[in-house]
Symmetry: C2
Subunit: 116 residues, 2 copies
């Protein structure tokens, strides 16, 4: 660890506690792995991308079924995982729930990865 001695701890503003340059704590590793697992699925990555690219950066389940080629319950299940993990926000209007990218969530994850 001598190569990092004397260096300041990197300042990361993200969901998790700042990571030191020396090594990722078991607690931060658990949190980061949980967050990455929520996103590390082809359908969920495409959902995030589709929501981001949709008119006004907002989409309801009804907009996502056809481009994804999956059933409504499956799409809803993936949207729930992404919302609970903090990657999407959900707001109910009328009979539909509308989803948006949670501001800064992907940027925070990307910043954490490059500070490992």
């Amino acid at each position: 660890m001598s190569s990092t001695m004397g260096l300041p701890v990197t300042d990361v503003t993200a969901c998790c506690a700042p990571l030191s340059r020396e090594s990722l704590s078991p607690e931060n590793a658990e949190a980061l792995a949980r967050s990455m697992k929520a996103l590390a699925d082809p359908a969920r990555l495409r959902l995030v991308s589709l929501v981001a690219a949709h008119d006004g950066g907002e989409a309801c389940v009804c907009d996502l079924i056809e481009p994804l080629g999956l059933s409504q319950p499956t799409v809803s299940h993936h949207l729930k995982i992404l919302t609970e993990a903090g990657f999407l926000t959900r707001s109910k209007r009328g009979q539909w729930a509308y989803y948006r990218l949670a501001p800064g969530a992907l940027d925070s994850l990307a910043r954490l990865l490059v500070t490992i």
Copy 2:
């Protein structure tokens, strides 16, 4: 999709084909999910972090067993997954294999995430 109309396609130099701002293709989503799954494990995230923080940015299995608190076969298994996924490089010297962070691998993944 009107919010992205007229914007140039983002130029990403990474393992996968460049992603358009409109949506992630099924093929790119599969590749990105595979890469993220290789990293989305607490032990593997800590291994990457420990290798990066080790003297000279290089470590052998023998350096990683004690800080990780896992057996040598388990550590070797995780190192194999990380090497096959392109996050670590491996070079054999004498009886030990030494691991380093693959240059740019975490940066490429981080860049792909923010271009979703």
